[in-house]
């Protein structure tokens, strides 16, 4: 504080009339102190008829100081007491006039209902949102199928370059991380299996476990979770950013269907890439499992391979691979659907991207459960 508080505002009273004198720096830095001074000065005083503030000694005035003076004047005027500023420097007249015309009429904040009602309200809204989501999902699947149909009828409209570009990003670029993760998963599975099976001398069954688990379930699940996190999120963010910058609207006005131009190539790319990644991922997991079985469990590669040949067949692999394109479709559709839901703000983009990953992983696991029931009932 540059000045003592007394010099900022001082006063004297004289039978129903008060003369205050403001001096010094009435600016933002002093606003905290000034506010308490103004509050003290505007305490109700009985039989007060008029009040004046001499502002001639104010060295610096900014909008904070001007508003505080204006606030004091308004308070007094509400109490039907004459209030005026005297000696205002002409330089500050414009600023003061600007502040003076302000109405400060803020509409009341929206009322908060009590907590029980609010909880019920949010439960209701969430349920409605879940249903709306399901409808939207069906709608998006429908429009993707319709776009696919149009492209089949008019192959010249198919965006081949775009599809290949996305295939490279979703497939080729994802391969290293997918291989690394699946090798590790296979290795961990084998290590745990050997560790526990060894207690009852069933070491060799670890090959059965790794083989069946990886090829039927884990290979495709791990790949899908990785793809949802890696490519699904980027689909949502890309399409969301395009939506925010009105690129999708631009496409629409030029007579293009955003689903056909933006979404179809992405979904085709993911549907092609995920089965390929699943195949490589499963092989990598078997490799990781075999490596640990050899180094940690003492099961030689020859034994591992011959045991593997006995326990699994092409059908085991088929069961896993068959699921891959459907899961990929779910990831792609959810990601694009969420992308198209993005509103104007950066927060909405982040929220939608999170939603996209959470929903697609959830749906992939639900789908896996449905497939398990299906394969069990047809005896695979």
């Amino acid at each position: 504080m540059t000045a003592g508080t007394l010099t900022l505002l001082s006063g004297e009273s004289d039978r129903g009339h008060i003369r205050l004198a403001a001096a010094g720096s009435w600016t933002a830095e002093n606003a905290g102190v000034l506010e308490s001074l103004i509050e003290a000065a505007t305490r109700p005083i009985p039989a007060l008829k008029s009040i004046s503030i001499d502002t001639a000694k104010i060295e610096r005035l900014d909008s904070f100081g001007a508003w505080l003076l204006e606030r004091a004047l308004r308070t007094w005027k509400e109490r039907e007491c004459d209030a005026e500023l005297v000696g205002l420097n002409e330089n500050y007249r414009g600023l003061f006039d600007k502040v003076h015309v302000g109405t400060q009429k803020l509409p009341p904040p929206p009322k908060r209902p009590n907590s029980i009602v609010a909880t019920l309200d949010s439960v209701g809204h969430t349920m409605a949102a879940v249903f709306a989501d399901l409808i939207l999902l069906a709608q998006t699947v429908g429009s993707v199928i319709a776009a696919f149909g149009r492209v089949v009828l008019h192959p010249s409209r198919f965006r081949f370059t775009s599809t290949v570009h996305h295939l490279e990003r979703v497939g080729w670029h994802a391969l290293p991380i997918i291989l690394l993760i699946t090798v590790l998963i296979g290795a961990i599975l084998a290590q745990q299996g050997i560790f526990h099976f060894r207690k009852f001398g069933a070491d060799i069954y670890v090959v059965d476990m790794v083989g069946v688990l990886v090829l039927r379930e884990l290979g495709v699940l791990i790949v899908c979770i990785m793809v949802a996190g890696r490519s699904g999120s980027s689909y949502t963010a890309e399409i969301g950013a395009m939506k925010m910058r009105e690129e999708t609207d631009a496409l629409r006005t030029m007579g293009f269907d955003p689903v056909e131009v933006l979404i179809l190539p992405r979904i085709l790319a993911i549907v092609i890439a995920v089965p390929i990644l699943t195949l490589f991922g499963s092989l990598a997991a078997l490799y990781g499992g075999g490596l640990v079985a050899w180094l940690y469990g003492g099961i030689s590669p020859e034994v591992f391979l011959s045991r593997l040949r006995e326990t699994i067949n092409v059908q085991t692999l088929e069961v896993g691979m068959m699921k891959a394109p459907f899961m990929a479709l779910v990831i792609g559709v959810v990601a694009c659907m969420e992308g198209l839901q993005v509103q104007g703000s950066a927060e909405s983009l982040g929220e939608r991207t999170t939603n996209s990953v959470v929903k697609s992983i959830f749906l992939v696991i639900v789908l896996d459960g449905l497939f398990a029931m299906f394969f069990a009932s047809i005896g695979l």
């Binding site: 909008s63 600007k98 400060q104």
Partner: protein, 259 residues
């Protein structure tokens, strides 16, 4: 009142390169207290680069920048830097409002950071600033995504003015506004400048704004300040680009509008 001729920004022999392309090649420019400096130049000549370099968003290769008489390179103390940043306000071309905050929170944001004042006063000041830039208090609770382009610019100006800055940087304040709003914006800037003696550094392409508001105009040509002076100096110049700029079809319209 401080001396009107005192320079608040002094840029000397500034050289800036972006991706090893030389954008600014020895810019020397002063901005004085209480003046509105219009800064013009062809698109892509580096007008925004100069603004961004002064406020510290871009690194410079050579040269010296002094703000309020303090060499920005000589500051090694975070608090001293903040003290200077507190005294300038910047209006970005697209507004750059924080989209996750309401309009009110946007305007209050610098106040929360820099001032120790009650929530009541903060709200009142935010509304005062919003009303000063010609908005109704209702926008206080809205989100930037609910506003029109002109309103976003006004809110962004209110935020730039939140702490009553001594220097105001305006990056194309009237671009994207309809002529009526642009005219109002010019008047607004003039009034604000008159009431608070701010120095205003305005990058603009709007000839009407140049005629209506600027005390002085600086022209960026080939990475240097080609010419600086008032509008008559600009009109008298024989430099081909300036001639085309100030005597082209749009310029005549602007001049006509002034008369």
């Amino acid at each position: 009142m401080a001396n009107a001729a005192e320079p608040v920004i002094q840029v000397k022999d500034l050289v800036v390169e972006l991706k090893s392309i030389r954008i600014l090649n020895g810019v020397t420019l002063d901005v004085h207290r209480g003046e509105i400096l219009g800064f013009v130049g062809a698109s892509g000549a580096g007008k925004s680069v100069l603004t961004r370099t002064i406020v510290g968003l871009l690194p410079k290769l050579e040269g010296k920048i002094e703000v309020f008489g303090t060499d920005l390179d000589a500051i090694d103390d975070e608090d001293q830097r903040r003290e200077i940043e507190r005294r300038w306000g910047i209006l970005f071309q697209q507004g750059a409002l924080f989209s996750s905050l309401t309009v009110g929170q946007n305007v209050e944001f610098p106040m929360v950071e820099y001032l120790d004042i009650s929530p009541r006063l903060m709200t009142e000041m935010a509304i005062t600033k919003l009303e000063m830039v010609g908005l109704k208090p209702e926008v206080y609770r809205k989100y930037p995504s609910e506003l029109s382009g002109g309103m976003i610019k006004r809110v962004a100006l209110a935020r730039a003015l939140a702490l009553d800055p001594e220097i105001l940087f305006l990056d194309e304040p009237t671009s994207g506004l309809d002529p009526i709003s642009a005219h109002e914006f010019d008047q607004l800037i003039l009034t604000l400048q008159r009431t608070s003696q701010m120095a205003i550094f305005m990058v603009t392409h709007d000839l009407d704004s140049l005629y209506a508001t600027c005390d002085r105009i600086a022209v960026l040509l080939d990475g240097k300040i080609g010419l600086a002076g008032n509008i008559d100096t600009m009109l008298a110049s024989e430099q081909p680009w300036l001639k085309a700029y100030f005597h082209g079809a749009r310029a005549r319209a602007g001049q006509h509008g002034k008369q």
